[in-house]
Protein backbone atom coordinates (compact mmCIF):
# COMPACT_ATOMS: atom_id res chain seq x y z
CA UNK A 1 0.00 0.00 0.00
CA UNK A 2 2.87 2.35 0.83
CA UNK A 3 4.53 1.46 -2.45
CA UNK A 4 1.29 1.89 -4.36
CA UNK A 5 0.71 5.29 -2.80
CA UNK A 6 4.26 6.36 -3.67
CA UNK A 7 3.63 5.24 -7.22
CA UNK A 8 0.16 6.70 -7.69
CA UNK A 9 0.30 9.93 -5.71
CA UNK A 10 1.78 11.81 -8.65
CA UNK A 11 -0.69 14.31 -10.09
CA UNK A 12 -2.60 14.43 -6.79
CA UNK A 13 -3.06 18.17 -6.36
CA UNK A 14 -3.08 19.52 -2.81
CA UNK A 15 -4.67 22.76 -4.02
CA UNK A 16 -7.57 20.97 -5.64
CA UNK A 17 -8.11 18.79 -2.60
CA UNK A 18 -8.07 21.75 -0.21
CA UNK A 19 -10.45 23.76 -2.37
CA UNK A 20 -12.84 20.88 -2.75
CA UNK A 21 -12.63 20.04 0.95
CA UNK A 22 -13.45 23.62 1.98
CA UNK A 23 -16.47 23.67 -0.30
CA UNK A 24 -17.67 20.30 0.90
CA UNK A 25 -17.15 21.15 4.58
CA UNK A 26 -19.12 24.36 4.07
CA UNK A 27 -21.99 22.55 2.38
CA UNK A 28 -22.09 19.76 4.92
CA UNK A 29 -21.84 22.19 7.84
CA UNK A 30 -24.84 24.12 6.52
CA UNK A 31 -26.83 20.89 6.27
CA UNK A 32 -25.77 19.70 9.74
CA UNK A 33 -26.50 23.05 11.38
CA UNK A 34 -29.96 23.18 9.88
CA UNK A 35 -30.68 19.60 10.93
CA UNK A 36 -29.42 19.99 14.49
CA UNK A 37 -31.15 23.32 15.14
CA UNK A 38 -34.33 22.12 13.52
CA UNK A 39 -34.27 19.12 15.86
CA UNK A 40 -33.46 21.20 18.93
CA UNK A 41 -35.90 24.03 18.39
CA UNK A 42 -38.87 22.38 16.74
CA UNK A 43 -40.12 20.64 19.91
CA UNK A 44 -40.75 24.13 21.35
CA UNK A 45 -43.43 24.73 18.79
CA UNK A 46 -44.52 21.25 18.08
CA UNK A 47 -45.45 19.83 21.48
CA UNK A 48 -47.70 16.82 21.42
CA UNK A 49 -51.26 17.78 22.05
CA UNK A 50 -53.15 15.87 24.69
CA UNK A 51 -56.32 15.99 22.61
CA UNK A 52 -56.64 13.15 20.18
CA UNK A 53 -56.56 13.71 16.45
CA UNK A 54 -56.30 16.96 14.62
CA UNK A 55 -59.79 17.27 13.24
CA UNK A 56 -62.05 18.23 16.03
CA UNK A 57 -64.08 21.25 17.00
CA UNK A 58 -65.56 22.57 20.21
CA UNK A 59 -69.04 23.94 19.65
CA UNK A 60 -71.24 25.94 21.91
CA UNK A 61 -74.31 28.11 21.70
CA UNK A 62 -73.77 31.86 21.59
CA UNK A 63 -73.98 33.45 25.00
CA UNK A 64 -75.72 36.75 25.26
CA UNK A 65 -77.16 38.55 28.21
CA UNK A 66 -80.77 37.78 27.32
CA UNK A 67 -80.18 34.07 26.98
CA UNK A 68 -78.06 34.05 30.10
CA UNK A 69 -80.78 35.77 31.97
CA UNK A 70 -83.38 33.27 30.82
CA UNK A 71 -80.94 30.41 31.52
CA UNK A 72 -81.27 26.97 30.04
CA UNK A 73 -81.28 28.07 26.45
CA UNK A 74 -77.50 27.79 25.99
CA UNK A 75 -77.22 24.10 26.87
CA UNK A 76 -77.55 21.27 24.36
CA UNK A 77 -80.53 18.98 24.53
CA UNK A 78 -80.23 15.27 23.83
CA UNK A 79 -82.11 15.75 20.55
CA UNK A 80 -79.63 18.35 19.39
CA UNK A 81 -76.72 16.11 20.29
CA UNK A 82 -78.25 13.18 18.41
CA UNK A 83 -78.83 15.39 15.36
CA UNK A 84 -75.20 16.45 15.42
CA UNK A 85 -73.94 12.87 15.82
CA UNK A 86 -76.08 11.84 12.83
CA UNK A 87 -74.14 14.14 10.51
CA UNK A 88 -72.09 12.06 8.07
CA UNK A 89 -69.03 14.26 8.58
CA UNK A 90 -69.09 13.70 12.34
CA UNK A 91 -67.41 10.61 13.70
CA UNK A 92 -67.95 11.29 17.39
CA UNK A 93 -69.59 13.71 19.79
CA UNK A 94 -68.53 14.13 23.40
CA UNK A 95 -70.12 16.20 26.13
CA UNK A 96 -68.20 18.43 28.46
CA UNK A 97 -69.06 17.61 32.05
CA UNK A 98 -68.39 20.49 34.46
CA UNK A 99 -67.56 20.00 38.13
CA UNK A 100 -70.30 20.78 40.66
CA UNK A 101 -67.87 20.94 43.58
CA UNK A 102 -65.12 23.26 44.69
CA UNK A 103 -61.53 22.63 43.70
CA UNK A 104 -58.55 24.13 45.47
CA UNK A 105 -55.03 23.40 44.19
CA UNK A 106 -51.61 24.00 45.73
CA UNK A 107 -48.24 23.63 44.07
CA UNK A 108 -45.02 23.83 46.05
CA UNK A 109 -42.17 25.21 43.95
CA UNK A 110 -39.48 24.74 46.55
CA UNK A 111 -37.73 27.60 48.37
CA UNK A 112 -40.89 27.95 50.42
CA UNK A 113 -42.73 29.38 47.44
CA UNK A 114 -46.21 27.96 47.17
CA UNK A 115 -48.91 28.77 44.67
CA UNK A 116 -52.51 28.03 45.49
CA UNK A 117 -55.69 28.80 43.65
CA UNK A 118 -59.36 28.00 43.30
CA UNK A 119 -59.92 25.95 40.19
CA UNK A 120 -62.58 24.12 38.29
CA UNK A 121 -62.50 20.87 36.38
CA UNK A 122 -64.16 19.67 33.23
CA UNK A 123 -64.08 16.31 31.57
CA UNK A 124 -64.68 14.92 28.12
CA UNK A 125 -65.03 11.22 27.27
CA UNK A 126 -61.65 9.47 27.49
CA UNK A 127 -61.69 8.61 23.79
CA UNK A 128 -61.04 12.30 23.00
CA UNK A 129 -57.95 12.48 25.18
CA UNK A 130 -54.68 11.26 23.69
CA UNK A 131 -52.82 10.37 26.87
CA UNK A 132 -51.39 6.97 27.72
CA UNK A 133 -54.34 5.03 29.14
CA UNK A 134 -52.12 3.82 31.98
CA UNK A 135 -51.85 7.43 33.12
CA UNK A 136 -55.24 8.71 32.16
CA UNK A 137 -57.36 6.92 34.67
CA UNK A 138 -58.70 7.31 38.15
CA UNK A 139 -59.31 4.41 40.51
CA UNK A 140 -62.16 4.97 42.93
CA UNK A 141 -60.71 5.38 46.40
CA UNK A 142 -57.28 6.13 44.87
CA UNK A 143 -55.38 9.31 45.59
CA UNK A 144 -53.73 9.98 42.23
CA UNK A 145 -55.44 12.32 39.83
CA UNK A 146 -54.12 13.01 36.31
CA UNK A 147 -54.99 16.37 34.76
CA UNK A 148 -54.53 17.99 31.35
CA UNK A 149 -53.68 21.70 31.39
CA UNK A 150 -53.85 24.27 28.61
CA UNK A 151 -50.33 24.85 27.30
CA UNK A 152 -50.95 28.58 27.88
CA UNK A 153 -50.66 27.97 31.60
CA UNK A 154 -47.12 26.67 31.23
CA UNK A 155 -46.20 29.62 29.00
CA UNK A 156 -47.80 31.99 31.46
CA UNK A 157 -45.69 30.52 34.23
CA UNK A 158 -42.42 30.28 32.25
CA UNK A 159 -42.47 33.62 30.48
CA UNK A 160 -44.35 35.66 33.07
CA UNK A 161 -44.35 34.36 36.55
CA UNK A 162 -41.02 32.53 36.68
CA UNK A 163 -39.12 35.40 35.05
CA UNK A 164 -40.62 37.95 37.41
CA UNK A 165 -40.02 35.89 40.54
CA UNK A 166 -36.66 34.48 39.52
CA UNK A 167 -38.00 30.94 39.61
CA UNK A 168 -36.69 28.13 37.42
CA UNK A 169 -38.35 27.56 34.10
CA UNK A 170 -40.15 24.30 33.58
CA UNK A 171 -40.15 22.06 30.57
CA UNK A 172 -43.17 19.90 29.88
CA UNK A 173 -41.29 16.87 31.10
CA UNK A 174 -40.36 18.49 34.38
CA UNK A 175 -43.88 19.81 34.87
CA UNK A 176 -45.12 16.24 34.43
CA UNK A 177 -43.36 15.01 37.53
CA UNK A 178 -44.44 17.88 39.77
CA UNK A 179 -46.92 17.07 42.48
CA UNK A 180 -50.00 19.19 42.82
CA UNK A 181 -52.04 18.91 45.94
CA UNK A 182 -55.73 19.12 45.03
CA UNK A 183 -58.50 19.58 47.59
CA UNK A 184 -62.01 18.61 46.54
CA UNK A 185 -64.62 20.31 48.68
CA UNK A 186 -68.36 19.69 48.80
CA UNK A 187 -71.22 18.42 50.91
CA UNK A 188 -69.25 19.18 54.01
CA UNK A 189 -66.32 16.98 52.97
CA UNK A 190 -62.82 18.00 52.04
CA UNK A 191 -60.49 15.37 50.57
CA UNK A 192 -56.99 15.80 49.25
CA UNK A 193 -55.78 14.18 46.04
CA UNK A 194 -52.29 14.06 44.53
CA UNK A 195 -52.60 15.61 41.10
CA UNK A 196 -50.03 15.31 38.34
CA UNK A 197 -49.93 16.76 34.88
CA UNK A 198 -50.52 14.06 32.29
CA UNK A 199 -50.37 16.36 29.27
CA UNK A 200 -50.87 19.80 27.76
CA UNK A 201 -53.27 20.99 25.14
CA UNK A 202 -53.22 24.01 22.86
CA UNK A 203 -56.79 23.55 21.87
CA UNK A 204 -58.81 23.53 25.03
CA UNK A 205 -58.86 26.37 27.49
CA UNK A 206 -59.99 24.23 30.37
CA UNK A 207 -58.58 21.82 32.90
CA UNK A 208 -59.45 18.23 32.10
CA UNK A 209 -59.72 15.28 34.45
CA UNK A 210 -60.66 11.69 33.54
CA UNK A 211 -64.36 11.13 32.98
CA UNK A 212 -64.35 8.41 35.68
CA UNK A 213 -63.10 10.86 38.28
CA UNK A 214 -65.60 13.48 37.24
CA UNK A 215 -68.52 11.06 37.56
CA UNK A 216 -67.26 9.83 40.92
CA UNK A 217 -66.55 13.29 42.33
CA UNK A 218 -69.82 14.78 41.12
CA UNK A 219 -71.68 11.98 42.86
CA UNK A 220 -69.66 12.26 46.07
CA UNK A 221 -69.15 16.00 46.45
CA UNK A 222 -71.58 17.51 43.97
CA UNK A 223 -73.83 20.19 45.37
CA UNK A 224 -76.22 20.30 42.43
CA UNK A 225 -77.32 17.77 39.82
CA UNK A 226 -75.01 17.64 36.80
CA UNK A 227 -76.16 20.31 34.38
CA UNK A 228 -76.78 19.67 30.69
CA UNK A 229 -73.65 20.26 28.65
CA UNK A 230 -73.09 23.78 27.34
CA UNK A 231 -70.19 22.71 25.13
CA UNK A 232 -69.64 19.72 22.94
CA UNK A 233 -66.46 18.30 21.49
CA UNK A 234 -66.95 16.99 17.97
CA UNK A 235 -64.57 14.79 16.09
CA UNK A 236 -64.77 15.59 12.41
CA UNK A 237 -64.08 12.71 10.05
CA UNK A 238 -63.85 14.89 6.98
CA UNK A 239 -62.97 18.54 7.66
CA UNK A 240 -63.55 19.56 4.05
CA UNK A 241 -67.20 18.44 4.16
CA UNK A 242 -69.27 21.59 3.75
CA UNK A 243 -72.54 20.10 4.90
CA UNK A 244 -71.35 20.13 8.51
CA UNK A 245 -70.35 23.79 8.34
CA UNK A 246 -73.76 24.62 6.86
CA UNK A 247 -75.56 22.65 9.51
CA UNK A 248 -73.63 24.37 12.31
CA UNK A 249 -74.38 27.75 10.79
CA UNK A 250 -78.09 27.00 10.38
CA UNK A 251 -78.34 25.85 13.99
CA UNK A 252 -76.61 29.04 15.16
CA UNK A 253 -73.80 27.21 16.96
CA UNK A 254 -70.42 28.76 17.63
CA UNK A 255 -67.29 26.87 16.68
CA UNK A 256 -64.16 27.51 18.73
CA UNK A 257 -60.98 27.15 16.73
CA UNK A 258 -58.01 25.62 18.51
CA UNK A 259 -55.05 27.91 18.93
CA UNK A 260 -52.81 26.79 16.10
CA UNK A 261 -50.26 29.61 15.90
CA UNK A 262 -47.44 27.39 17.15
CA UNK A 263 -48.47 24.81 14.58
CA UNK A 264 -48.06 27.43 11.86
CA UNK A 265 -44.72 28.45 13.36
CA UNK A 266 -43.56 24.83 13.34
CA UNK A 267 -44.57 24.55 9.70
CA UNK A 268 -42.68 27.74 8.86
CA UNK A 269 -39.65 26.44 10.73
CA UNK A 270 -39.78 23.23 8.72
CA UNK A 271 -39.95 25.13 5.45
CA UNK A 272 -36.97 27.31 6.38
CA UNK A 273 -34.95 24.32 7.56
CA UNK A 274 -35.84 22.50 4.35
CA UNK A 275 -34.64 25.44 2.25
CA UNK A 276 -31.37 25.75 4.16
CA UNK A 277 -30.75 22.01 3.93
CA UNK A 278 -31.38 22.13 0.18
CA UNK A 279 -28.83 24.92 -0.25
CA UNK A 280 -26.29 22.97 1.81
CA UNK A 281 -26.92 19.82 -0.18
CA UNK A 282 -26.52 21.77 -3.40
CA UNK A 283 -23.13 23.11 -2.29
CA UNK A 284 -22.05 19.61 -1.26
CA UNK A 285 -23.30 18.12 -4.51
CA UNK A 286 -21.31 20.66 -6.54
CA UNK A 287 -18.21 20.03 -4.42
CA UNK A 288 -18.68 16.32 -4.90
CA UNK A 289 -19.05 16.76 -8.63
CA UNK A 290 -15.87 18.81 -8.88
CA UNK A 291 -13.88 16.29 -6.87
CA UNK A 292 -15.30 13.38 -8.84
CA UNK A 293 -14.10 15.15 -12.00
CA UNK A 294 -10.68 15.76 -10.53
CA UNK A 295 -10.39 12.11 -9.43
CA UNK A 296 -11.41 11.10 -12.92
CA UNK A 297 -8.66 13.25 -14.44
CA UNK A 298 -6.21 11.87 -11.90
CA UNK A 299 -7.04 8.35 -13.03
CA UNK A 300 -6.64 9.40 -16.65
CA UNK A 301 -3.21 10.85 -15.95
CA UNK A 302 -2.07 7.71 -14.12
CA UNK A 303 -3.73 5.44 -16.64
CA UNK A 304 -0.58 3.70 -17.91
CA UNK A 305 0.61 3.00 -14.36
CA UNK A 306 -2.73 1.50 -13.46
CA UNK A 307 -2.70 -0.57 -16.64
CA UNK A 308 0.78 -1.90 -15.87
CA UNK A 309 -0.24 -2.72 -12.32
CA UNK A 310 -3.12 -4.76 -13.58
CA UNK A 311 -0.86 -6.51 -16.11
CA UNK A 312 1.31 -7.46 -13.13
CA UNK A 313 -1.77 -9.12 -11.65
CA UNK A 314 -3.22 -6.36 -9.49
CA UNK A 315 -7.00 -6.38 -9.22
CA UNK A 316 -8.79 -3.10 -9.97
CA UNK A 317 -9.65 -2.81 -6.26
CA UNK A 318 -6.09 -3.31 -5.14
CA UNK A 319 -4.64 -1.03 -7.80
CA UNK A 320 -7.14 1.71 -6.95
CA UNK A 321 -6.79 1.22 -3.18
CA UNK A 322 -4.76 4.44 -2.67
CA UNK A 323 -7.48 6.50 -4.33
CA UNK A 324 -10.25 4.70 -2.45
CA UNK A 325 -8.41 5.32 0.81
CA UNK A 326 -7.86 8.97 -0.14
CA UNK A 327 -11.56 9.57 -0.71
CA UNK A 328 -12.47 7.71 2.48
CA UNK A 329 -10.03 9.69 4.63
CA UNK A 330 -11.08 12.98 3.03
CA UNK A 331 -14.75 12.08 3.51
CA UNK A 332 -14.29 11.28 7.19
CA UNK A 333 -12.21 14.41 7.81
CA UNK A 334 -14.66 16.65 5.98
CA UNK A 335 -17.66 15.19 7.76
CA UNK A 336 -15.86 15.53 11.08
CA UNK A 337 -15.04 19.20 10.40
CA UNK A 338 -18.61 19.84 9.27
CA UNK A 339 -20.03 18.29 12.44
CA UNK A 340 -17.63 20.35 14.57
CA UNK A 341 -18.65 23.54 12.74
CA UNK A 342 -22.32 22.68 13.12
CA UNK A 343 -21.86 22.08 16.86
CA UNK A 344 -20.13 25.44 17.19
CA UNK A 345 -22.93 27.17 15.28
CA UNK A 346 -25.47 25.36 17.43
CA UNK A 347 -23.77 26.45 20.65
CA UNK A 348 -23.77 30.06 19.44
CA UNK A 349 -27.47 29.92 18.52
CA UNK A 350 -28.51 28.22 21.75
CA UNK A 351 -26.68 30.88 23.75
CA UNK A 352 -28.99 33.40 22.13
CA UNK A 353 -32.12 31.31 22.44
CA UNK A 354 -31.84 29.87 25.92
CA UNK A 355 -32.62 33.13 27.79
CA UNK A 356 -35.95 33.14 25.97
CA UNK A 357 -36.83 29.48 26.01
CA UNK A 358 -34.88 28.00 28.89
CA UNK A 359 -32.90 24.87 28.36
CA UNK A 360 -33.47 23.42 24.95
CA UNK A 361 -33.30 19.72 24.40
CA UNK A 362 -30.55 17.69 22.80
CA UNK A 363 -33.07 16.24 20.39
CA UNK A 364 -31.24 17.57 17.33
CA UNK A 365 -28.02 15.65 17.95
CA UNK A 366 -29.17 12.20 16.92
CA UNK A 367 -30.73 13.33 13.61
CA UNK A 368 -27.58 15.32 12.85
CA UNK A 369 -25.29 12.36 13.48
CA UNK A 370 -27.50 10.15 11.35
CA UNK A 371 -27.51 12.72 8.56
CA UNK A 372 -23.72 13.01 8.78
CA UNK A 373 -23.29 9.24 8.62
CA UNK A 374 -25.74 8.91 5.74
CA UNK A 375 -24.10 11.68 3.68
CA UNK A 376 -20.64 10.25 4.38
CA UNK A 377 -21.74 6.79 3.31
CA UNK A 378 -23.37 8.20 0.18
CA UNK A 379 -20.23 10.10 -0.83
CA UNK A 380 -17.91 7.17 -0.16
CA UNK A 381 -20.12 4.84 -2.18
CA UNK A 382 -20.32 7.27 -5.11
CA UNK A 383 -16.53 7.84 -5.16
CA UNK A 384 -16.02 4.10 -4.96
CA UNK A 385 -18.29 3.63 -7.97
CA UNK A 386 -16.58 6.40 -9.98
CA UNK A 387 -13.10 5.03 -9.28
CA UNK A 388 -13.75 1.32 -9.69
CA UNK A 389 -15.81 1.71 -12.85
CA UNK A 390 -13.05 3.80 -14.40
CA UNK A 391 -10.22 1.47 -13.38
CA UNK A 392 -12.04 -1.65 -14.52
CA UNK A 393 -12.35 -0.17 -17.97
CA UNK A 394 -8.58 0.32 -18.27
CA UNK A 395 -7.19 -3.18 -18.69
CA UNK A 396 -8.24 -6.46 -20.18
Amino acid sequence: MKLLWKLLRTHVSAGQIIGFSLANVLGLAVVMTAVVLHGDVLPLFDGRDALAGSSYAVISKPVDTMASALDGDKVFTDDEIDALAAQPAVSGVGRFTPSTYEVYARISLGNGVEMSTDMFFESVPDAFVDVDSEQWRFVEGGKYLPIVLPRNYLDLYNFGFASAKGLPKLSEDVAGVMNISIDIIGRGRRDTYLGFIAGFSNRLNTILVPQSFMDYANSQYGTSPAPSPSRLIVEVANPSDESLALMLKDSGYEVAEGDDSSGRLAFFLRVVAGLVISVGLLISALAFFIFALSIYLLLEKNMSKLENLMLLGYSPHRAAAPYLALTLVLGVLQTGCAVALAMAARAACLDKLSPMFGDLGQSGLAPMMMTAAALLALQVILYYAVIILKVRRIAR
Binding site: L3, L4, K6, L7, T10, K305, N308, L309, M310, L311, L312, G313, Y314, S315, R318, R392, A395, R396
Partner: protein, 218 residues
Amino acid sequence: MHSKPVDQLTFDGVVPSALLGRTSASGLWGGRHTFERGRTYLVEAASGTGKSSLCAYAYGYRNDYSGRILFDGTDSAKLGKAAWRRLRLTSLSLMFQELRLFGSLTAMENVRLKNDLTHHKSDEDIDTLFDRLGIADKRDAPASLMSYGQQQRVAFIRALCQPFDFLFMDEPVSHLDECNASALADILAEELDARGACAVVTSVGRKMNFDFDENITL
Protein backbone atom coordinates in the same frame (compact mmCIF):
# COMPACT_ATOMS: atom_id res chain seq x y z
CA MET B 1 -2.63 -19.36 -5.05
CA HIS B 2 -1.56 -22.54 -6.77
CA SER B 3 -4.05 -23.85 -9.25
CA LYS B 4 -3.60 -26.73 -11.66
CA PRO B 5 -0.54 -26.08 -13.84
CA VAL B 6 -1.06 -25.33 -17.51
CA ASP B 7 0.84 -27.91 -19.58
CA GLN B 8 0.19 -26.80 -23.13
CA LEU B 9 -0.22 -23.42 -24.75
CA THR B 10 -1.44 -23.81 -28.31
CA PHE B 11 -1.53 -21.22 -31.10
CA ASP B 12 -4.21 -22.50 -33.47
CA GLY B 13 -4.43 -20.63 -36.77
CA VAL B 14 -3.41 -17.39 -35.12
CA VAL B 15 -2.67 -14.55 -37.55
CA PRO B 16 -2.03 -10.99 -36.38
CA SER B 17 -4.45 -8.60 -38.04
CA ALA B 18 -1.45 -6.65 -39.36
CA LEU B 19 -0.05 -9.73 -41.11
CA LEU B 20 -3.32 -11.05 -42.53
CA GLY B 21 -2.84 -12.84 -45.83
CA ARG B 22 0.79 -13.80 -45.17
CA THR B 23 1.78 -17.10 -43.61
CA SER B 24 5.32 -17.66 -42.51
CA ALA B 25 7.42 -20.72 -43.25
CA SER B 26 7.56 -21.83 -39.62
CA GLY B 27 3.87 -22.43 -39.50
CA LEU B 28 3.46 -20.50 -36.25
CA TRP B 29 1.32 -17.73 -37.76
CA GLY B 30 -1.65 -19.40 -39.38
CA GLY B 31 -0.62 -22.91 -38.46
CA ARG B 32 -0.94 -24.87 -35.25
CA HIS B 33 1.88 -24.76 -32.75
CA THR B 34 1.99 -25.98 -29.16
CA PHE B 35 4.39 -24.73 -26.50
CA GLU B 36 4.88 -27.38 -23.85
CA ARG B 37 5.70 -27.07 -20.21
CA GLY B 38 9.28 -28.09 -19.46
CA ARG B 39 10.63 -27.12 -22.86
CA THR B 40 12.44 -23.98 -24.05
CA TYR B 41 11.85 -22.09 -27.29
CA LEU B 42 13.82 -19.42 -29.10
CA VAL B 43 11.70 -17.29 -31.43
CA GLU B 44 13.88 -15.56 -34.02
CA ALA B 45 12.72 -13.09 -36.59
CA ALA B 46 13.35 -9.76 -38.19
CA SER B 47 11.63 -6.84 -36.51
CA GLY B 48 8.03 -6.24 -37.52
CA THR B 49 7.16 -9.89 -37.91
CA GLY B 50 5.17 -10.09 -34.71
CA LYS B 51 7.46 -11.29 -31.91
CA SER B 52 6.04 -8.83 -29.40
CA SER B 53 2.56 -9.59 -30.68
CA LEU B 54 3.15 -13.26 -29.85
CA CYS B 55 3.94 -12.32 -26.23
CA ALA B 56 1.03 -9.87 -25.99
CA TYR B 57 -1.46 -12.41 -27.34
CA ALA B 58 -0.27 -15.14 -25.00
CA TYR B 59 -0.33 -12.73 -22.04
CA GLY B 60 -3.82 -11.67 -23.01
CA TYR B 61 -3.53 -7.89 -23.25
CA ARG B 62 -3.98 -7.67 -27.00
CA ASN B 63 -6.49 -9.49 -29.12
CA ASP B 64 -5.88 -8.04 -32.59
CA TYR B 65 -5.62 -11.46 -34.19
CA SER B 66 -7.73 -14.11 -35.80
CA GLY B 67 -7.55 -17.73 -34.71
CA ARG B 68 -7.48 -19.25 -31.24
CA ILE B 69 -5.04 -19.47 -28.36
CA LEU B 70 -5.66 -22.47 -26.11
CA PHE B 71 -4.57 -23.09 -22.54
CA ASP B 72 -4.73 -26.89 -22.19
CA GLY B 73 -7.52 -26.84 -24.77
CA THR B 74 -9.48 -23.95 -23.24
CA ASP B 75 -10.06 -21.08 -25.65
CA SER B 76 -8.48 -17.97 -24.12
CA ALA B 77 -11.20 -15.81 -25.71
CA LYS B 78 -13.56 -17.25 -23.11
CA LEU B 79 -11.46 -16.04 -20.19
CA GLY B 80 -12.77 -13.09 -18.17
CA LYS B 81 -10.68 -10.42 -16.50
CA ALA B 82 -10.51 -12.33 -13.22
CA ALA B 83 -9.37 -15.53 -14.98
CA TRP B 84 -6.62 -13.64 -16.81
CA ARG B 85 -5.53 -12.07 -13.53
CA ARG B 86 -5.31 -15.55 -11.95
CA LEU B 87 -3.27 -16.84 -14.90
CA ARG B 88 -0.87 -13.90 -14.62
CA LEU B 89 -0.34 -14.64 -10.95
CA THR B 90 0.08 -18.41 -11.21
CA SER B 91 0.82 -19.61 -14.75
CA LEU B 92 2.03 -16.81 -17.01
CA SER B 93 4.89 -14.42 -16.62
CA LEU B 94 6.07 -11.90 -19.15
CA MET B 95 9.20 -9.81 -19.36
CA PHE B 96 8.02 -6.99 -21.59
CA GLN B 97 10.27 -5.77 -24.38
CA GLU B 98 9.53 -2.23 -23.24
CA LEU B 99 10.04 -3.49 -19.64
CA ARG B 100 7.16 -1.46 -18.16
CA LEU B 101 9.04 -0.59 -15.00
CA PHE B 102 7.80 2.30 -12.88
CA GLY B 103 10.34 5.08 -13.28
CA SER B 104 9.43 6.85 -10.05
CA LEU B 105 10.10 3.73 -7.95
CA THR B 106 13.50 2.27 -7.12
CA ALA B 107 14.71 -1.01 -8.61
CA MET B 108 13.88 -2.85 -5.40
CA GLU B 109 10.45 -1.23 -5.11
CA ASN B 110 9.63 -2.30 -8.66
CA VAL B 111 10.41 -5.89 -7.76
CA ARG B 112 8.57 -5.67 -4.46
CA LEU B 113 5.46 -4.30 -6.11
CA LYS B 114 5.14 -7.68 -7.80
CA ASN B 115 6.41 -9.83 -4.95
CA ASP B 116 4.01 -8.16 -2.47
CA LEU B 117 1.26 -9.63 -4.59
CA THR B 118 2.62 -13.16 -4.89
CA HIS B 119 5.02 -13.49 -1.91
CA HIS B 120 6.90 -15.89 -4.13
CA LYS B 121 10.50 -14.91 -3.31
CA SER B 122 12.05 -14.16 0.04
CA ASP B 123 13.96 -10.91 0.55
CA GLU B 124 17.21 -12.92 0.60
CA ASP B 125 16.39 -14.59 -2.72
CA ILE B 126 15.78 -11.18 -4.28
CA ASP B 127 19.02 -9.78 -2.84
CA THR B 128 20.91 -12.76 -4.26
CA LEU B 129 19.40 -12.17 -7.71
CA PHE B 130 20.42 -8.49 -7.61
CA ASP B 131 23.92 -9.61 -6.64
CA ARG B 132 24.30 -12.23 -9.32
CA LEU B 133 23.08 -9.86 -12.02
CA GLY B 134 25.52 -7.19 -10.91
CA ILE B 135 23.01 -4.51 -9.92
CA ALA B 136 23.19 -4.81 -6.13
CA ASP B 137 24.45 -1.21 -5.95
CA LYS B 138 21.39 -0.02 -7.93
CA ARG B 139 18.79 -1.49 -5.60
CA ASP B 140 17.69 1.89 -4.27
CA ALA B 141 18.20 3.93 -7.43
CA PRO B 142 15.08 5.15 -9.21
CA ALA B 143 14.45 2.96 -12.24
CA SER B 144 14.23 6.06 -14.44
CA LEU B 145 17.90 6.83 -13.71
CA MET B 146 19.17 3.37 -14.61
CA SER B 147 20.58 2.31 -17.97
CA TYR B 148 18.40 0.19 -20.20
CA GLY B 149 20.58 -2.84 -19.58
CA GLN B 150 20.22 -2.41 -15.84
CA GLN B 151 16.48 -1.99 -16.21
CA GLN B 152 16.33 -5.21 -18.23
CA ARG B 153 17.85 -7.11 -15.33
CA VAL B 154 15.35 -5.54 -12.86
CA ALA B 155 12.48 -6.50 -15.14
CA PHE B 156 13.89 -10.03 -15.33
CA ILE B 157 13.97 -10.33 -11.52
CA ARG B 158 10.42 -9.01 -11.36
CA ALA B 159 9.29 -11.61 -13.89
CA LEU B 160 10.71 -14.36 -11.65
CA CYS B 161 8.80 -13.17 -8.58
CA GLN B 162 5.80 -15.37 -9.19
CA PRO B 163 4.93 -18.97 -9.92
CA PHE B 164 4.62 -19.68 -13.65
CA ASP B 165 4.30 -22.49 -16.16
CA PHE B 166 5.20 -20.29 -19.13
CA LEU B 167 7.71 -17.47 -19.05
CA PHE B 168 7.73 -15.17 -22.07
CA MET B 169 10.82 -13.00 -22.47
CA ASP B 170 10.73 -10.39 -25.19
CA GLU B 171 14.33 -9.66 -26.20
CA PRO B 172 15.66 -9.98 -22.66
CA VAL B 173 19.36 -9.51 -23.42
CA SER B 174 19.26 -6.86 -26.17
CA HIS B 175 21.23 -4.41 -24.03
CA LEU B 176 23.32 -6.78 -21.90
CA ASP B 177 27.02 -7.55 -22.21
CA GLU B 178 28.23 -11.12 -22.61
CA CYS B 179 28.94 -11.57 -18.92
CA ASN B 180 25.56 -10.34 -17.66
CA ALA B 181 23.72 -12.17 -20.44
CA SER B 182 25.22 -15.48 -19.37
CA ALA B 183 24.49 -14.72 -15.69
CA LEU B 184 20.89 -14.17 -16.73
CA ALA B 185 20.91 -17.41 -18.75
CA ASP B 186 22.23 -19.36 -15.74
CA ILE B 187 19.53 -18.01 -13.46
CA LEU B 188 16.89 -18.72 -16.11
CA ALA B 189 18.03 -22.35 -16.40
CA GLU B 190 17.88 -22.81 -12.61
CA GLU B 191 14.45 -21.25 -12.30
CA LEU B 192 13.04 -23.34 -15.18
CA ASP B 193 14.47 -26.48 -13.65
CA ALA B 194 12.99 -25.70 -10.27
CA ARG B 195 9.53 -25.08 -11.70
CA GLY B 196 9.55 -27.47 -14.62
CA ALA B 197 8.35 -24.49 -16.62
CA CYS B 198 8.52 -23.46 -20.26
CA ALA B 199 10.38 -20.41 -21.54
CA VAL B 200 9.67 -18.62 -24.79
CA VAL B 201 12.48 -16.18 -25.59
CA THR B 202 12.44 -13.84 -28.59
CA SER B 203 15.43 -12.31 -30.30
CA VAL B 204 16.17 -10.18 -33.31
CA GLY B 205 19.89 -10.79 -33.32
CA ARG B 206 21.67 -11.01 -30.02
CA LYS B 207 21.21 -14.49 -28.69
CA MET B 208 21.41 -15.71 -25.16
CA ASN B 209 24.03 -18.33 -24.49
CA PHE B 210 21.40 -20.97 -23.77
CA ASP B 211 20.63 -24.42 -25.05
CA PHE B 212 17.10 -24.09 -26.42
CA ASP B 213 15.05 -27.20 -27.18
CA GLU B 214 13.47 -25.70 -30.27
CA ASN B 215 14.14 -22.77 -32.61
CA ILE B 216 11.23 -21.08 -34.29
CA THR B 217 11.67 -18.56 -37.08
CA LEU B 218 8.77 -16.27 -37.72
